[in-house]
Subunit: 506 residues, 4 copies
Amino acid sequence: MPGANRPLTAQEVAAHSSRESCWIIVHGNVYDVTDFLDGGSKVILKYAGKDATKEYDPIHPPDAITTNLKPDKHLGPIDRSTIDQTTSDDPTSEEERARQGRISSRPRLSEILNLHDFEAVARQVMPDKAWAYYSSAADDEITHRENHAAFHRIWFRPRILRDVTKVDWSTRILGHQSSMPVYITATALGKLGHPDGELNLTRAAAKHGLIQMIPTLASCSFDEIVDAADAAQVLFFQLYVNKDRSITKRIVEHAEARGIKALFITVDAPQLGRREKDMRQKFDAEDPSEVSKAGQGNVDRSQGAARAISSFIDPGLQWADLDWFRRITKMPLILKGVQCWEDALEAYDRGLAGVVLSNHGGRQLDFARSGVEVLAEVVAQLKERRGLKFPNEKFQLFVDGGVRRATDVIKAVALGATAVGIGRPFLYAYSSYGPDGIDKALQILHDEFEMNMRLLGARTIAEIVPEMVDASNIHTHVVPVPMDNLFEGNYEKLLGARLRDVKSKL
Amino acid sequence: MPGANRPLTAQEVAAHSSRESCWIIVHGNVYDVTDFLDGGSKVILKYAGKDATKEYDPIHPPDAITTNLKPDKHLGPIDRSTIDQTTSDDPTSEEERARQGRISSRPRLSEILNLHDFEAVARQVMPDKAWAYYSSAADDEITHRENHAAFHRIWFRPRILRDVTKVDWSTRILGHQSSMPVYITATALGKLGHPDGELNLTRAAAKHGLIQMIPTLASCSFDEIVDAADAAQVLFFQLYVNKDRSITKRIVEHAEARGIKALFITVDAPQLGRREKDMRQKFDAEDPSEVSKAGQGNVDRSQGAARAISSFIDPGLQWADLDWFRRITKMPLILKGVQCWEDALEAYDRGLAGVVLSNHGGRQLDFARSGVEVLAEVVAQLKERRGLKFPNEKFQLFVDGGVRRATDVIKAVALGATAVGIGRPFLYAYSSYGPDGIDKALQILHDEFEMNMRLLGARTIAEIVPEMVDASNIHTHVVPVPMDNLFEGNYEKLLGARLRDVKSKL
Amino acid sequence: MPGANRPLTAQEVAAHSSRESCWIIVHGNVYDVTDFLDGGSKVILKYAGKDATKEYDPIHPPDAITTNLKPDKHLGPIDRSTIDQTTSDDPTSEEERARQGRISSRPRLSEILNLHDFEAVARQVMPDKAWAYYSSAADDEITHRENHAAFHRIWFRPRILRDVTKVDWSTRILGHQSSMPVYITATALGKLGHPDGELNLTRAAAKHGLIQMIPTLASCSFDEIVDAADAAQVLFFQLYVNKDRSITKRIVEHAEARGIKALFITVDAPQLGRREKDMRQKFDAEDPSEVSKAGQGNVDRSQGAARAISSFIDPGLQWADLDWFRRITKMPLILKGVQCWEDALEAYDRGLAGVVLSNHGGRQLDFARSGVEVLAEVVAQLKERRGLKFPNEKFQLFVDGGVRRATDVIKAVALGATAVGIGRPFLYAYSSYGPDGIDKALQILHDEFEMNMRLLGARTIAEIVPEMVDASNIHTHVVPVPMDNLFEGNYEKLLGARLRDVKSKL
Amino acid sequence: MPGANRPLTAQEVAAHSSRESCWIIVHGNVYDVTDFLDGGSKVILKYAGKDATKEYDPIHPPDAITTNLKPDKHLGPIDRSTIDQTTSDDPTSEEERARQGRISSRPRLSEILNLHDFEAVARQVMPDKAWAYYSSAADDEITHRENHAAFHRIWFRPRILRDVTKVDWSTRILGHQSSMPVYITATALGKLGHPDGELNLTRAAAKHGLIQMIPTLASCSFDEIVDAADAAQVLFFQLYVNKDRSITKRIVEHAEARGIKALFITVDAPQLGRREKDMRQKFDAEDPSEVSKAGQGNVDRSQGAARAISSFIDPGLQWADLDWFRRITKMPLILKGVQCWEDALEAYDRGLAGVVLSNHGGRQLDFARSGVEVLAEVVAQLKERRGLKFPNEKFQLFVDGGVRRATDVIKAVALGATAVGIGRPFLYAYSSYGPDGIDKALQILHDEFEMNMRLLGARTIAEIVPEMVDASNIHTHVVPVPMDNLFEGNYEKLLGARLRDVKSKL
């Protein structure tokens, strides 16, 4: 075993920078990751023979490497004095200085009026790679935007002259109290936006009485997150099922042991989607001097962070596997990523606790319908076929994707959802302002709930009924006839009254 | 009692500039407004110890402070000589000079061709804060714009070969003559746009035979407005119901005593909406030197004019309260802000005189439907359930929101409305041109009524029948499928024939 | 009678430049037009005491003044030597020089590929006033553009494997041969675009075997136009009915005597519409030095060319008048401007020869539906109620408005129209290229007919059947939900592959 | 016979440069093409007396001139030394140098993420004329864009929890194996984009297990293409039927003899469409010094490449001709260009092997519906009228037009198509990167199929069923009501939170 007795030197490590033998340094230790190169993670080669800590951290929990790598591949500590600091340090590039300038010019938090605003700030202050990972979605990002747009096809039918002095938007999710019909849904790689990663969400959930769903692909380790929670704090867990079921079993049993209250099994990601904005960002960021002769370059390139971390997910997961889950855990099982009534019905008939109607934030199959559209279909069909009414204690429906306002949540609740998952907006909140950001985001939602329930005439979540919305256009997907450019080019727009001889204001 | 015997000095007032003791100067008198600080009006603190007259005037009737503040809080006159004129005066800022330049460059009034034009001018010549208050609406302002857009989904089916030499667009509203099926609806803070505030409307209503609805939140006092009216002039009154019903009772009885002909009770505003454009304007207007360290500033800030003046409104108002109103007044009662047929039916069954189908100009619940869309629903349902026909003498339907043309009014009348309320356009008319503006606005409407009734083949309001419109798309709320940016980016638009070697005109 | 014996001098004329006595010079003669000032033609005052020939010519037939003015108001010839040439001449302004530059830079006629192209050129080379008159429409010009857009909601269902070696798009209109199912519809003020005015159309109609509809408001006199026609050339006449029926009788009898084959009575214009683009152009064109103090100017201004020439039209025209028309003429009567099936049915039941489903090119009632949409309704209802099939020899349906391609015409024919009227595109054709332009325009239409009938699988007009189009969306008038500016502002558009280090082509 | 004994000189050739006698040089030989001038190919005159090789090559197969020209018009070889090299060479124009610069700045092939990207690059690096020919479409190009847009009205209903470890997207087309439900459809003039023309496609088809449909109007000769194919490679042939059926007979018999597996007879092109972008490009490219006096130029000009090469196509082709085809060949017959269910039914009843639902890439009749829309109609009607189910072995449905993603193909397959033709994207792939480009394009499609079938829950093509898509909006063709420019002009868009004092990133 190399270096068993003394720290390895950077020179020794550097000698192993090929596909045949690939060593990397992470947090002061050297690992032989040659075996990992097969599974699609060719990106690792980029760091072969180097200190990969900075790249490794946001996309892996701290225990990932020790958990997944056999002990004999742990080669021992590096002699830090041998590392060339100048190369391992990120140069304070012009781009980074510009970003720091933007950070110091952020609007005050008090100027943030809604969840959209966090995204506007995050886009300016996040590193490009992190922004690309969080904001990207599948293919042409049609579903990503449709998720938001679908809410705009649902309109309110408010009621008047009800005593709305007191309004209460707290509810119960899978039997647990929540201060609003919202939960923090699972999103990967939380440290890309802030060094505390998912812990920002855990702490805010405690403060605001919300439930957090811990992601399998968190940057923080599962235990770090659970440890950060209050004693009574309710946590759910989102699971990507491993090809190696023994790993999955260990994870699930551990989760239950640590008090997790429900298991959300992701079923819409047998393979993680291509997110071209994320992929394209990588090329844009490259040193032009590296660029090989145009048209002939066929260097194999990374397919983005998502691919790098997800090769373990089992595309063979099937309905029959659910029985196995029931044997290894007593936690209620919910399927995350159901996209038509047929599968929701199947889940109900198999006795699951609920389903999340979701398309993975538009990151998987483009032209998948929005969760809130599927909700309308599921509620109608399960009523017709099984006589169910929603919201329903026994079989709960959740929706995520595209939510930006409390009114969006209220629309989903009116249609039958128990609660709605919010992901990206919370990431943007802490990526732009840290813990204060997520705190403010939740305060905004509370304020919006209070006002809009009053304006809608609903004093409790139970009073938000289907008759309060008009969703008759929810299934309408129109594309206008392409523009007649010749006609439009000739048409001279009407202009209104204009000032004379002076520059107008806008 | 301080200063009972001699005028107070500015120095004495300035000592009371904290949450614990807050004095302000208004119109030469000093008031202790410490008690008001609790009710959300923290904005007052900004003027603590100072002369607040300039800020106070447009957003309060002159008698507001004396009416609402107990006598022992009236601390007596200020010694004006002690006020530092330089600080209390508004410096003639560059921004203000630019605005004055724009005012002097206004188009002549004769160049104003339609109601849109007043808005175009007002946007240029109003102070930013006033423009922000008038023009802003709730959340994403979807409903605000939908109010206008909904009229564009209604198309005409004109009739021909009728003798339209004489056309008459006068009508009766709640039994009172009106020169057109339009009334001036209630809008708050009329002095923000012009020093005469609502009186501009009162005088124009007299001249043009229109009915004005006096707002609770007028800048002018109720009596000022009534006094400005002609003897025979019909006035309605819009009421925000106070948590303290004795105040409401006093107001209603006074209104009836002064000859008000109908009471419009606002039911869509248990809490005034968040208008982010208004809120954002406040931050933009601030001195950058005040800006605290970005991301850490959590100074509590004003939520805009609307919130400041509306904390008295009772969110507990309910159907049962209507009996009480019937006991204290004989004025016909109309509910303003009904938004679905169920509540319109309830109002009818309870014997009210009518309802205004309105979403408060898009300023309350975003994604509330437009009044004219709700109209189609209400007419259909009340016909089916109660056999009613509209327009109906006994139970009158009104609509407001988004009206810019006489054709908009005609569409609503065809669908069954008795009359239509117009608000913002009249404010913009006098904000841009004073009394001449509102005069011109009404003349434009008269001209448009004459022409369009002729072109439609309707000689009287009664001849404007449902068959004259096609409103079959009124309930259609579509959002196009998100754009395929890659395809659109590649598509090369057709270009028409172009000039050679010379700059084209446009 | 002044000047009976000798020519008048300019000085004498100049003395009569007031409302009380208003003389003008036209084509070398002096006329007293004081009496005309009452009828809304206050614009005349602008030329009081001056030579008005240049302004008068394009908007009046040469015989208009002598026909309409009593003989005693013909004051005799002017002594041309007394006219100050410098002031009566139009200075070669910078604007005019720029326009001449654009004229000389016109694309060659061979580069004109479609009817849109004429409009693109005309917009550049026409005088602003002429362009404004031709291109403007009512109010917000929604109907004007809808006329074109409606055709885009109709799609083809072409048939294959038919021998289309020979295709024939000639047809019969009211029993007369036409080389295509198109006629040249009536439009006013033809000389605004070219000194030969409507004669350009007459000559082209002869050459291409088309039927022209002579307008009442032609710039050329009726007889000039008829005289310019070939012996066998078929002409129709469009009639605005005069309040003074004796004038109308004289016109109709004269038309019949001169061989006019059909009388199209305009029924959609009891009053000519407000065309704000036209009106606004007038203000823009003015000398800024004339501009009175902003906000106080209330000079009465012209309402555009249309109003100036149309005050004689009778708004009292009604169904009963049609009997009178039948007594004074044997020409077939067609109503121009029918806009719903009820009036088409009435016209059929009264034995008329047909109707033109038209909204006057969008120049009258905004939000009137397009002719082609009304066509679908009329065909359906007249089939259901009277068992009619269309196209129909006995009762012919015509459509105008928004046509730019032969495919538009074919769509209307498929739905049941006998022929389609085209107006503006022909005006733009000769306004941009004179007689060659209109010749080319018709050649383009012929080419398009040949190709598209082949592609559609229709060898004759009779083979263009309803099954060849899908018009199921014709009645759909949608307005997308207003844009969510915050979401759209944050969304970062996908960008495709880009070149490096070099300017891209477009 | 001139020059029988010695090579001709350029001077001799140059003497024949008129309509009366027109000689051209192609590949070192002189031809008398005077007889060709009648048939619409006046473009030839441009090269009269000159070397036309460079222009001739991309738009004719090498054997075209010898095949079509009688032997006595083959005048023999040119003496190359007599050709003035400077004039026959294309000057390295500034435009061409700029294009070469763009070529060298192409993104590396590894940066190409989807089929759109090839188009983005091709637009930059192709010669303008070639780009214009490939990218142009009929009239206003509405159908061209609708072809793509129609897919956006079809949304997915993915299924979950199926074992998608292995997914297989291979299928059988007309009984022949294909690695995906895609074939390379016929497109003309392949050498415009790359000197190897269609051979690029043939080689890529071999490598990737695809079927290529050889076009009649290929730049390469039929035999060149067949020779380039592997022994077992399946090829189809697209046929334009010649007015001279003996030529067609010879072509078809030859195709069958060479092993072609199916004959696709084009039925949507009795005349080739007008493609205005292509036509306009010609004028733009011209030397301005040639431009005749504007407005008077009536030089007859080329109508683009398509017209030049297609005059032989028989517009008289009809259903009865199909019997003749059955007599001369045993190849299965498929009609290419069917556009309504009636014709698909006729094809089925006549025993054909299938139909391609296509509008010729939007290049023929504008406002023809997209193939995928027609597919929905055909499947529904043939089920109702003949009890057919699709995909169907006996009568296969194909679709082409607008495909850019594997998801587009999957949608068509779900609706009943056997396979989908892709044309332009493959041309753009090799036009931008040569053979590597088409290779990469097919690899991208394979990757997309794998991922999207997994995400959809379909393991085989047979598992892609109609229930997996929602195509309920496929027949919806809406055009939004024209924009209210005055309202929109006045509306002040909401702005989100903004940075202070610093330039934002985007």
